[in-house]
Symmetry: C2
Subunit: 116 residues, 2 copies
């Protein structure tokens, strides 16, 4: 449903105050939301291409995420498929360092917990 897409300024799941950061966390804390943004950072992709890159995402969920991200102004439909908007690319800019960090996290985690 379009109406439960988290929007800053109005109450969202888990935050009656509607604080922008909570709306954002609600939006990004849904399955595949972060992954879709990540995939689109390299350029526009069609629906089926996104599906293929996010191995197990069901079309139902992908469609929901795309609608949510679209009406949140992070994704738009261009000639060659779905792509990040300016705001979407800004957000990816913040997300980008997570890539390198996750590597270090993985190393440290596998070091301290060698198979658990």
């Amino acid at each position: 449903m379009a109406s439960d897409i988290p929007t800053p300024g109005q109450p969202v799941r888990g935050s009656k105050s509607g604080k922008p950061i909570m709306a954002l966390f609600d939006l990004l804390g849904r399955r595949w939301a972060l992954g879709v943004i990540w995939q689109l950072s390299e350029g526009a992709l069609t629906f089926r291409q996104i599906q293929a890159r996010c191995e197990s995402v069901s079309p139902t969920v992908l469609n929901s995420r795309l609608k949510e991200l679209t009406s949140s102004g992070l994704v738009a439909r261009g000639a060659s498929g779905y792509e990040l908007t300016d705001m979407g690319r800004e957000l990816f800019g913040l997300l980008k360092p997570f890539g390198a960090w996750s590597q270090r996290w993985a190393d440290e985690l596998l070091d301290t917990q060698p198979k658990g």
Copy 2:
């Protein structure tokens, strides 16, 4: 269940490759995961304090998130409650800019979509 906590290096929900970034996105893309890290950034909090700050989080889910974040090395139990580890604080460092950005996002969004 402890066994389906996303861990880099082994397949996670949505990524058979076990890429660290996908494990991280899986971990953070669960309800309240981002919010809990955000709340803990200001200092240690007890279980009930976290509950109170994340208005509608159920104890079931909060307990799951805390277990996941703990065994992922981002959160630990100290004398005064749950708190971020060094890695957790590092991750919050990456997350921090999202606060300011979400404000601008909110402004721009409410400007282009003035109520819907």
